[in-house]
């Protein structure tokens, strides 16, 4: 499963990059396992498991229980705020 991933805001400080295209391993089946995968990949010591970081799949924020199918785009969204 190839996905385009965005690491927004302070998440990019954990990853050292703001986006990448990557083949996800088969162990990544839902949002929970996506969080686990990212956390160990970037040695983030649980930061990716923090519910304050929301996850959008194909432009829609989804709960941790959501299964991952037909993913084009993943985004990690830390707390937002503009203005």
């Amino acid at each position: 499963m190839t996905a385009y991933i965005f690491y927004f805001g302070k998440v990019s400080a954990l990853t050292g990059k703001e986006k990448e295209q990557i083949d996800l391993p088969e162990t990544v089946t839902d949002i929970s396992s996506l969080r686990q995968w990212a956390d160990s990949r970037f040695q983030a010591e649980g930061e990716f498991l923090n519910p304050k970081i929301r996850i959008a799949i194909n432009g829609k924020i989804l709960p941790d229980s959501s299964m991952l199918e037909q993913i084009d785009e993943i985004a990690f969204l830390p707390p937002v705020g503009g203005g």
Binding site: G9, K10, A13, G59, L77, P78, V80, G81, G82, G83
Partner: protein
Amino acid sequence: MIDVSESKIDASAALKAFEADLNGAGAIVSFTGRVRETSKQERIETLRLQAYNPMTVDGIAQAVSRAKERWSLMDVHICHRIGHIAPGETIVFVATASAHRRDAFEAADYIMDYLKTQAIFWKQEITTCGRQTWIEPREQDYEDNARWD
């Protein structure tokens, strides 16, 4: 009208265009938010704003719809800048129009609270010394936003 772009915002020109389009509105409120010169005594070099479209614009459009249900509004206009923004430049411009002034005041206030705490933006402050900090809403911003629940 919702405009999220890297183009510079001219609040005065935006107000002029907004007022020109209005027929019969008695009350117009505008809000301009600008980048400050300093942060914790350090000079700001630039503020960087990220958005994630279409999510960002769709979210703002939904907030405008909620405002239009809640108050009697003739028009709403929002310009939000992204990319690198220099001190003194405008990050955000919001204008609201209504027959009576309370609607325009409260809707502008509501929309600003949405933009500050819920709109899909991330803000990074870069000081002249090179310190880079991602800025999250202040506790006060969340309290302000909770007024509308």
